[in-house]
Structures are given as C-alpha cells and as structure tokens.
C-alpha cells in the first residue's frame, strides 16, 4: 500500500514536470524537429508552394545536383570561406583572449569593445561595412590613399570580394570566440603556472605546455561552432554582395535561398539543404574525432 502511494506521488510529480516542459518541447518539435525532418521528405518532391502540395520525384533532385555546376561552385566557395575563416577566427580570438586575460587598466573596457560588434545587428553592420569598403568613396580606400598604399576594389572585385567578407565577419564574430576562450583561460588554476615558473618555464613554454592543452576542450567547442557558423554564412553575403560579382561569393546557403525563394524550387532547394547538413555533420564528426581524443588533465 505504501509503495503504491509513493508511486502515485511520483507519477504526479512526473506529470507536473512534463507539463512544465511541454510548451518548449512542443515548440521545439514544431519549429525545429518538424521542419528538419520535413526537409528530408521535401528533397524527394517537386513542391508547388502556391498549392501547398508536392509531387513525388524520387531521387531526381539528387540526380540533378550531380550535374549542377552552380551547386559545386557554391560548395567550393563555402569550403574556401570555411577553410580560410575558421583558423583565422580561432587564432585571432585566442590571441585577443590571451591579451585581455592579462591585468591592465581598462581591461574591461577593451573586452567590451571587442565583444560589442557581436551584439550589433549583422544586417546593419554589414551595410555600414559596405560603405566603408566602397572603392571610390569608402573610408578604407581613403585612408590607404592618404598613407600612399595601394587601394583595393574590396567587395566589388571578383578576387577580393570573398576576402572582404572574411575581414568583416572576423571583426563581427571574433568577440564570440574571444569570450569563450577568456572563460576557458580563467578556468585554468594559477597554481599550474606557478609550478611551471618554479621549474623555470618561460611564458611561451607555459602557453604551449599548460594553456593550450588545458584549453583543448574549449578550442574544440569553438572550432565546431565556428565551422558550423562558417558553413551557414548567409547574412553578410546577402547584404554586401548578393553572391556577386559573377558569383564569386555565392555560398551554399545563398544558393539554397535563391532556389527556394527566387526560383520557387523548394524540393530542389531542400536537396541542397540535405547535402549541406550531411557535409556539416561529416566535418563536425571529423573535428570531434581528431581533437576529441586529445584529453589532457593535470593532477
């Protein structure tokens, strides 16, 4: 009898708990899980968005992808962007975090300044940077001219457009990795550094043998997040170049957007989305496998 009473109390507690989390679970299922799963279904269909119905086309959307030069071009641009941007963001983010981890007057102010771009609306900052980058009336070229340095076409040059977007994104996103690295750095006990100093280690050796190994989980986290973010780059490209000039900045998500919302090919766009997901998943797993093995602990 006693057991049954406890059980019913537990049951009520469980029900209450589930009721509390139900709204978020329902919303999550509706707005995250369902669209995600539906994308896989949509990729097998030719979808008429006006009539909200689709025709089953099997694997033909995927078959089309194989012959789609624009898809491979946008994939190449996305990979190029990720390969250049990700290491730079991690190195710069870590570098700035190391500098701002040292005690000096105005440290908090500097941290705020570095983090601020991250909280600004990306569309607004991208629009401002587009003006700064203007080859004929932009501030950047004006300063370069004053310093008698060669000017650049920035966003309007076929060879410089992607680099210009990388510089802008670095300025905007770097604060994010910096703050994560800072938190990681502050979690490393000072006694390790003191012990190393007693053993005669210099600052560089302390960084290589203490900071870096102990930061590995943080680096891994930032790496995965930055890589995923880089694969999904859209806003700055959409605002600053629209994918141009001559598709020089046409990234995968922008191509997906064009397929869906400009050409109304939602089924085919979904197939590109599935490929995008698989690619991101593979790269993330590889990163986790390689770096995840490196577990360092000091007792």
């Amino acid at each position: 009898m006693k057991v049954r009473n406890i059980s019913s109390l537990e049951k009520r507690r469980w029900i209450t708990a589930y009721l509390f989390i139900a709204p978020i679970v329902i919303l999550f299922a509706m707005f995250r899980v369902y669209p995600f799963l539906f994308d896989f279904v949509l990729a097998f269909m030719k979808w008429n968005v006006f009539k909200n119905k689709g025709t089953w086309v099997g694997l033909s959307n995927y078959a089309k992808l194989i012959h789609d030069d624009t898809f491979f071009h946008s994939l190449k641009i996305t990979l190029l962007y990720t390969l250049i941007y990700t290491p730079i963001e991690i190195i710069v983010g870590l570098g700035v975090a190391l500098l701002l981890n040292v005690k000096f007057l105005g440290r908090s102010f500097c941290r705020t300044i570095f983090f601020m771009p991250y909280i600004f609306t990306s569309i607004a900052t991208a629009a401002i940077w587009t003006w700064l980058y203007d080859p004929t009336s932009g501030l950047i070229n004006a300063v370069l001219e004053q310093l008698h340095l060669p000017t650049c076409m920035w966003l309007q040059g076929e060879k410089t457009a992607l680099g210009s977007i990388i510089i802008y994104t670095l300025w905007r996103e770097m604060g994010y990795s910096m703050i994560i690295f800072l938190a990681g750095l502050q979690g490393i006990p000072q006694r390790y550094y003191e012990a190393a100093r007693i053993d005669g280690a210099n600052k560089f050796q302390s960084f290589i043998y203490i900071t870096l190994p102990l930061l590995t989980p943080i680096v891994l986290f930032v790496l995965v997040m930055v890589t995923i973010g880089s694969f999904g780059i859209f806003g700055p490209v959409y605002v600053m170049t629209g994918g141009g000039p001559a598709d020089a900045t046409l990234v995968l998500v922008l191509y997906m957007y064009r397929l869906g919302f400009r050409y109304l090919k939602f089924g085919y766009g979904a197939a590109v989305g599935v490929m995008f997901f698989i690619l991101t998943l593979i790269v993330t797993i590889v990163e986790l496998k390689i770096l995840g093995k490196r577990k360092v602990s000091y007792y």
Binding site: V49, F50, D69, Q156, G242, G244, P245
Partner: protein, 430 residues
C-alpha cells in the same frame, strides 16, 4: 455543476458571436498587399485619401499591408500556401508567370479590359498576356540614358545631343572619361552595373541585348515553352560592347558601384536605368546636376528599344472577393483618381519621373513639359520583361556568365554557349 454548464454556454456563445462578427466584418474588408512605400496609406497622404473616398462610397474597408519586395514574395507564398492570401496585390512582373501558371490571378472582365485599353498609353498594350489584361500599372518606369550636360560641354560634345548609336556611345564615353596623373580612372564615361543579384545586372543591360535583336527568352508573353535567342550576333555584340569599353576604350571600369550613385555623385558621365531614378534623387542630393534623358543607344543595324516596368502594378487575386476587388480597380480607373494619384505622389519625387498609365493625363498642363514629352516618346519603344515562369532563373544564369565575360574569366563566345546550354536545360524542365 449547473453554474459550470451555464458559464461554458456563455463562453461558447460569445465565441460564436465573435466568429460570426469576424466573418461578416471580413466580408467588408479588401486586403491589399504591397511593396514598401508603394500604395501604403500610412506613408502617402494621397493614397490615404484615395482609399478613404472608396471606403466612404462603398463601405468596404481597404486594409493595406506592406513589406520590402523580397519579403513580400515570401509573405505571399506562405499566405497562398495557407489559403490566406491577399485579395489584391502589388506585383513584380518577375512573379507574374508563376502566379498565372497557378491560376491565382483573375483576368480583367471584358468591359474593364476595354476601358483599360482605351485609357492606356499605347506602349502599355505590351503588358497584356495572351491578349488578356491582368495588371493595372499605377505608373510605369521606362529605362533611359542619363547624361551629364556639363561634362558633355567640358569634353567638347554638344550637351543637347546624346549618343544615339553604339558607335557614338563608345566615342562619347571615351571622350568623357577622366584619369588622374597615374592613369587611374577617376570618372567613367559610362557606369556599368555588375554587382548584386545577376537578374538586376541583366535588367540594366537589357537595352543593349534587345537593341541588338537578341533576348534571353522569347516570346515575352508566354508562360512556358519560350526559347533562348542570344547565342547569336546580337547577343555577342551586346556583351562585347561593354567588354570593349572596359578593356579597349577604358571608358568604363569596375569599382564605381551602383551606376545611379556614380551618376548623382558625378563620378560617371552617363548611366542607363529607370527614368525616375535620377530625377527623384538629384534635386535633393545634387541640385546642380545638369542632366538629360534619352532612349538608350542602339547599334546601326539594330532597333530602338528600352525596357518598361509597371511600378507598382496591381493584380486581382482569383478568390471570393474578386468582385469587390474589381470594384476597387474600376474606382482606381476613374479619371479623377487617375489624375489625383500622380499629382499627389510622393513629395520626394515632385510628381515627376513616373509615367502615368492614362494617356489623357498627358494633355494636362502639369504633364506638358520636356520631361514628360521625352518619357512618353521613349515609352513607345518600351518592352516589358518576359513572363516565362523560369525567367528569373534564366536571367540569373545569363547575368552570371555575362559578368564573367566582362571580368575576362571566359570569352564572350564561351559565356553565350554556357548560358544557352543551362537555360535550354532549364526551359526543357517544364
């Protein structure tokens, strides 16, 4: 228990009454969706008056919702998918094909079409699709060549004689280009658009393509089954014209941004875009800008042509409120309303720059000036963009290769062949 039952009954009754009221009220509301600024009652006192008068006369309320152009398309797609679309909307011609293919738009009834045809400036007849009228352009934008008269004078050219042919165009642009002491171009003779989405780039270069008797898809009033017509002498000449200006004449260059900005900022002596683009900005941003407006140039062996777009253009959704919507269209086509709209349009534009739809308006003193004479003459050579359902994608493909050829990444021949192959594959899909 009884109280519970009574209160439940009351709540259900209230809900039923509200539902019925909502349905009844919704019957008397016409939902109009438009692009930002276009037709919005909160932003234009003129339109607010137009709507108010209609509301007073009919008891039907006009509910206006507006969004930026790309968001509007997303909004309408979502709404049509959910079965809650607008009753009347402002449409971009690029979307028209898809809407028509899905039977979402209602053609004007015969009597209204007759009235439309008798009212319209002749060039607007080209807006018809297979002999049927679907849209009421509030006004039209004609693409024109703008030239800076002061720069022409400075270069020893007649400021009142813009280039008519491509040969003159190239020669003038060369004379008008200015370099600094290091040989760097500081002012282009002609500003090109090559940035942004490829369709936008193509739009600004259609004058060259069409005047060389080429086109991306032909005919322009077919929803499906169109064919390409650019991998030929005309298409080659149209892309090569700019390439020659870039590399042989050095009279244009990359890096000058949007041609309209370059022209207003006096970094370009000539540019080609919507006729309203410069007048609507110049008086505010460059009041001393002394410029002219003419039909874009054409090759000696080509034709005189330019592109025209309805902006905004109203269509009626084929739905339960179709009849009320046409009532509103009839009201908008009344002479006094046609007269009122352009006269009270956005203060920024001082009422010029736009081409009114009704031909009788041009007899009014307000429209009898050099500007409207020029615009009306240009409109005669106007051609709207095709309504082919794949036009946007085809245009994006063409634009991508055209700019690649301009960047010397591929030859013009290669650009045309690649674009043709991809566009033909696209057209074969349907």
């Amino acid at each position: 228990m009884r109280i519970k039952k009574i209160s439940t009954g009351i709540i259900i009754s209230i809900l039923m009454v509200l539902l019925v009221c909502n349905v009844v009220l919704a019957q008397g509301v016409l939902n109009l969706w438009c692009q930002d600024r276009n037709l919005d009652r909160s932003q234009h006192r003129g339109f607010n008056w137009v709507y108010r008068e209609f509301e007073k006369a009919t008891g039907i309320k006009i509910k206006v919702a507006h969004a930026p152009i790309e968001d509007l398309l997303k909004k309408t797609l979502a709404a049509f998918a959910a079965g809650t679309g607008p009753d009347i909307m402002d449409i971009d011609r690029a979307w028209l094909g898809a809407y028509l293919k899905n039977d979402l738009l209602a053609p004007f009834p015969p009597d209204l079409q007759e009235k439309w045809e008798s009212m319209a400036v002749p060039a607007f007849k080209k807006f018809e699709v297979k002999g049927k009228v679907y849209e009421l352009p509030i006004w039209v934008d004609v693409y024109a060549l703008n030239w800076n008269k002061d720069m022409f004078k400075e270069a020893g050219l007649d400021p009142n004689s813009p280039p008519q042919t491509w040969e003159e165009f190239r020669a003038y642009a060369k004379k008008l280009t200015k370099y600094d002491e290091n040989g760097k171009i500081v002012r282009v003779g002609y500003a090109i658009r090559y940035m942004g989405n490829p369709t936008g780039v193509v739009q600004k270069h259609l004058w060259a393509l069409w005047s060389a008797k080429a086109s991306i898809i032909t005919p322009y009033d077919t929803l499906t089954g169109g064919r390409t017509n650019f991998n030929n002498k005309g298409g080659y000449a149209a892309i090569d014209l700019i390439k020659k200006m870039l590399y042989e004449d050095k009279s244009t260059a990359f890096g000058f941004g949007d041609p309209r900005d370059a022209f207003v900022e006096k970094k370009a002596a000539m540019q080609i875009s919507e006729c309203a683009a410069i007048p609507s900005r110049a008086f505010k941003e460059a009041p001393d800008l002394n410029y002219g407006m003419a039909l874009p140039p054409h090759p000696k062996w080509g034709i005189r042509v330019t592109n025209i777009n309805g902006c905004p253009s109203i269509v009626v959704v084929d739905g339960p409120k179709k009849d009320i919507a046409f009532k509103f269209i009839r009201y908008l086509m009344r002479p006094e309303i046609q007269m009122f709209i352009p006269l009270t349009w956005d203060v920024d534009q001082l009422g010029f720059g736009i081409v009114p739809f009704a031909r009788f308006l041009y007899k009014h003193p307000w429209f009898q000036n050099m500007y409207y004479d020029a615009v009306l003459k240009m409109a005669e050579y106007g051609r709207p963009q095709p309504v082919e359902i794949n036009y946007t994608e085809a245009s994006d493909i063409f634009g991508k290769y055209m700019v690649q050829a301009w960047f010397n990444k591929i030859s013009v021949k290669e650009a045309l062949a690649k674009a043709e192959k991809e566009i033909n594959a696209l057209l074969a899909e349907e």
